[in-house]
Structures are given as C-alpha cells and as structure tokens.
C-alpha cells in the first residue's frame, strides 16, 4: 500500500518553470511588467500569481497555456510587486521561486528607435549644412525636371486660351506629407496664374484642406498684386466620398474644359479615371504622387509625371530659392549614403555577418 502511495506521489510530482525573470516592460508608457520563464516539460498551463507589497498574499492574475513563455501584466506604476509562476497539471502544481521586487514606470526614451534618431540626426545635419552653404551663395546644381519646366507652358497655354487651370491637391488629409507638398506647389502655381490673371479651380475632397487651399491662393494673388483675380468660389469642397469626388471632378473637366490639369498629391484608384478623362479633353496634364501603385497610370495618361520624391522637390525647383535648393542637395547626399549602406549590407550579409542587419532593426 505504501509503495502504491509513493509511486502515485512520484507520478504527480511536476517541475516548476525555471529561470523566471521580471522587469519593467521596456519602451512603454508605464503600467506594465513583463515576466518571462523557461517552460516546464510537465505543464498543461501556468498560473500567474502576483503579490503587491506590503501585502503577504499571492493572488492569481491569469492562466496561460503551456506554450506561453512570456506574460505582460497590467499593473499600477510605482507599486512594488513579486510574482510566482505556477506549473499546473490536473490538480497537481509546482510553484517557482518568488521573483525579486519589481515596479513599473513610464520610459522617457524609446530605445528601439535609437537608430531612427541617429538617422534623422545625420540627415538633418546634412540638410542644414547644405542649406547653410546655399545661404552663403554656393552654386548648387539641380537636374532638370521636365514636368516642372512644363508648368509655365501649361499656365501660359491656359492664359492664351482663356481657360482655367484645374488643380487637384490629392484626396488625402492635411496630415499627409504629400498633401503638404502639393499645397506648397499650389502656392507657386497660383502665383504664376495670378500674374496672368488665369483662374485656378481647386475642388477638394477634404474639408480641412479646402480652407488652406483658399488661403494659399488668396495670399498668392495678394502677393503678386492681383487680388482681383482671386475667386473664393473656385476653391470648394465637393464630398468626402472617393468616387463621388471623382465623378464631380470628371464633370468639371468635361464642362469647364480646363486647359491645364494638375494632379499633385496622394491618389488612390481614382487616379486613372481622373487622368484619362482629362486626357480626353485635350488638356496639358501634369501629375505627381508618391503612391507607387498609381504612378504607372499617371505616366500613361498624363503629359508629365513627377515620380515620388520629385513631388517633394517641386516647390524648391519652381521657386529656385537657395535655401530650398540646399535641402535637395542634402537629400541627394543622403541617398548616396543609403546606397553605400545597402552595398555594405549586401557584402557583409553575403559573408555571413548579421550584426550589420541588427543595427537597422527596432
């Protein structure tokens, strides 16, 4: 009988999880503690037990399955805790040693983003250096961008024909950098159009972008001394509906027959519908977007297309302001550095060295 009891006890004896570690969850806003452990071969699952000091009783927090080796517990900042991880199998269980005291707090720096910070710092330094050189009068070469050279031609054509210019600032929100770049270009184009007294029609899909467009065109007209050219009704909101907006703009193109269409900003599936309709009216079309999937459509249906970064370079290119041109040179040098890093990465990884990749992971 004694032998049977001993054998049963031996059978029921299970091992606790090993190497239980607790630490404040890194790179978070606080309020959480992470617990990790080495799994026990006997576990059907683990129960997480927590004791908030100065209490002396462990209370169950959660139960996790046998495959789990990591648990993030939501706690109160500044309170000290101890944990026990309990291996459970049927009614049998085995507790780990209680952990050291641990408490959570909010982190003031996201260490996983150190590489991003370094990258941004290097890039910013390069940009500011080139802007500084440009400010001191250093001549900077910028390659020709055909699409931007054609802006004058497009506005001139509209002026000669007595027809308006249609400007679509993309369909995205004001927080999209492509929209901001487009608004910068709108300022330049509105200025040139105002000099010639040409109307600029700007239909908007986003109600926040609309008043910004109105202000940009109004300021451009004022700046060149032509406030009479500004017509608030030409810059209006249509609808937030993507294809409702597309249908309305198509209608404007067919009724007003603008001599020049600008599609600059962020576009989605409507890009080809807009550009093809514009092409059918015989307008000069200049498009630019950073949406890679829409670029082939614009390239096919428009006379000129600004590809990706050219959209961001457009404002500097049109204004020829040394400060803005300096930033373009900074971009070019950064691309050179990135190219060098890619080549170095390819060589190092090909020879089996992975530490270089680690520099770029979070």
């Amino acid at each position: 009988m004694t032998t049977i009891v001993l054998l049963t006890l031996l059978y029921l004896q299970i091992s606790p999880p090993k190497d239980v570690r607790v630490f404040d969850t890194p790179n978070d806003a606080g309020g959480s503690i992470t617990i990790t452990w080495e799994s026990s071969p006997d576990a059907e699952g683990y129960r997480i037990l927590r004791m908030a000091l100065p209490d002396s009783v462990y209370t169950p927090v959660d139960w996790v399955d046998a495959a789990t080796k990591r648990y993030v517990d939501k706690v109160e900042d500044g309170v000290k805790y101890r944990y026990i991880i309990r291996t459970e199998r049927g009614s049998a269980y085995a507790d780990s040693e209680p952990t050291d005291e641990v408490w959570s707090h909010g982190n003031v720096f996201h260490r996983g983003r150190t590489n991003v910070l370094i990258g941004v710092a290097v890039y910013t330094t390069l940009l500011l250096s080139f802007i500084y050189f440009a400010k001191r009068g250093k001549k900077l070469f910028v390659r020709k961008i055909a699409g931007l050279d054609a802006v004058d031609e497009a506005i001139g054509r509209a002026t000669e024909m007595g027809k308006p210019v249609l400007y679509i600032p993309g369909l995205s929100t004001i927080s999209d950098v492509a929209t901001l770049a487009s608004l910068n270009i709108l300022g330049r184009i509105a200025r040139k159009a105002a000099v010639h007294g040409t109307r600029v029609i700007v239909p908007n899909r986003n109600p926040i972008v609309m008043p910004v467009c109105q202000e940009i065109v109004r300021e451009a007209c004022l700046d060149v001394g032509r406030p009479d050219v500004y017509r608030e009704d030409d810059i209006f909101y249509i609808t937030f509906s993507q294809f409702g907006y597309t249908a309305a703009v198509d209608g404007i193109m067919l009724r007003e027959k603008p001599a020049a269409n600008f599609f600059l900003g962020m576009f989605w599936a409507e890009s080809l519908i807009l550009a093809e309709t514009g092409a059918s009216t015989g307008a000069i079309q200049i498009a630019g977007t950073d949406a890679i999937h829409q670029l082939p459509f614009f390239i096919t249906a428009c006379d000129y297309t600004l590809i990706g970064e050219e959209l961001y370079a457009a404002s500097a290119y049109l204004s020829r302001e040394p400060l803005s041109l300096g930033s373009l040179k900074g971009q070019d040098w950064t691309k050179l550095i990135i190219g060098g890093l890619i080549v170095a990465g390819v060589i190092l990884v090909s020879f089996g060295s992975d530490w270089f990749l680690g520099l770029f992971s979070s």
Partner: protein
C-alpha cells in the same frame, strides 16, 4: 506678426511631434491623443465649413443660371433630402437613411470604380505600343506577367509563372524600393523645411 505667428506655431508643434515620437511616456502619449482629438474636432467643424461652401457655390450657379445649373439643384436637393431623412429616421442599420446609402450610394460608387476596367484597357493600349526600346521591354514584361497569372500561361510553358514572379520580386521590387527611399527622404525634407520655416508658400510666403 500675421506670418510670424503661424510659423512659430508650426515650429513648436512640429518639434513637439518629432520629440513625442521618441518618448513612450504616458504624458507624451496623452499629448499625442489630445492632438488627435483636436484634429477630429477641427475635422468636424471643417465639414460644416465645407458643406457651407458646397451650398454657396451651387446656390450661386442656380441663381445665375450658369451652365449646368440643373445639376446643382440635384446636388443641393440630394444634400437636403439625406439630411432630412437622417434626422427623421436616424442612421442605424435598417433605417431609410442606411437603405438609401446601401442601395443608391454604394452601387453608384461601385459603378464609378468599375469604369476603371475600361480606362485601364485604353491606358494599357497606349502604354504597350512598342515604339521605343523601353516601351517594348514594358510590353514584354506585361505580357509575361499577364500570362503568368493565368492557367493558360502555365499550359503554354510551365516556367512562365516563375518568370512572372521573378519580374515582380526582383526588377519591379528594386524600382519600387528606390522610389520608396526617395519618397521617405523627400517627406522628411519637406517636413523639416516646413517646421523650420524655410518652406512657407503654404502661408503665401516665398518668391
């Protein structure tokens, strides 16, 4: 002052958002959430502003009997009708408002979207004319890709789907990544120029 103040606000907010990105602390997260809340509030008010301009523009067209003024009646009529239905029946599932949305608005949008197929056909015809070396390469790549995506391509030659996949994952991906790197740098550069006040054409500054 009229120009300095927006530039100062832009600088402070721009720098704050950059710093916020690197700080996971609760205070920083709370600040970010507050900004997002403000954005939503501004968006809601701007919708009223936008709808106001919509009515103003179309009302002017109707009163002046401008070209196509009849369409303006439909626009304003539709807007007023949907507003009225929304207020009277509510906008929950099964209400008249939602039925109009599901059975009128959605099919209309789908119709516009489906027009894309015809536009793609005409655009493809123009793009794939083999008039230059580059256009010929594009044509060949396009034919291989289209064949690689259908069973007939495999039937013609079992390696065509593999070649199509290679075109997508190698030369195509390389070009895409090149553009993406340029776009990323352009974004940071534009943001930096706006934050530092170098780019100020959005407030009517610059040449």
């Amino acid at each position: 002052m009229r120009r300095q103040l927006p530039l100062a606000i832009c600088f402070v907010m721009g720098v704050s958002m950059v710093v916020q990105f690197f700080i996971p602390h609760r205070v920083s997260q709370e600040f970010y959430r507050t900004i997002l809340d403000w954005y939503r509030i501004v968006f809601a008010f701007s919708l009223v502003l936008g709808t106001g301009t919509l009515i103003k523009v179309h009302w002017a067209k109707i009163s002046k009997k401008s070209k196509g003024w009849q369409y303006s009646i439909i626009t304003i009529g539709g807007l007023v009708f949907m507003l009225a239905v929304g207020f009277i029946t509510g906008i929950q599932e099964g209400t008249l408002f939602m039925k109009i949305f599901e059975y009128v608005e959605v099919p209309l949008e789908a119709t516009m979207f489906s027009l894309l197929a015809f536009y793609i056909a005409s655009a493809a015809y123009r793009a794939f004319r083999a008039r230059t070396v580059e256009a010929t390469l594009l044509l060949i790549a396009a034919v291989v890709l289209m064949l690689g995506r259908i069973p007939f391509g495999y039937y013609l030659w079992h390696k065509i789907p593999g070649i199509a996949e290679w075109i997508l994952t190698n030369p195509n991906m390389a070009a895409k990544r090149g553009i993406v790197i340029g776009v990323g740098l352009g974004m940071i550069s534009t943001a930096l120029k706006i934050i530092l006040g170098i780019e100020r054409s959005y407030i009517g500054g610059g040449k």
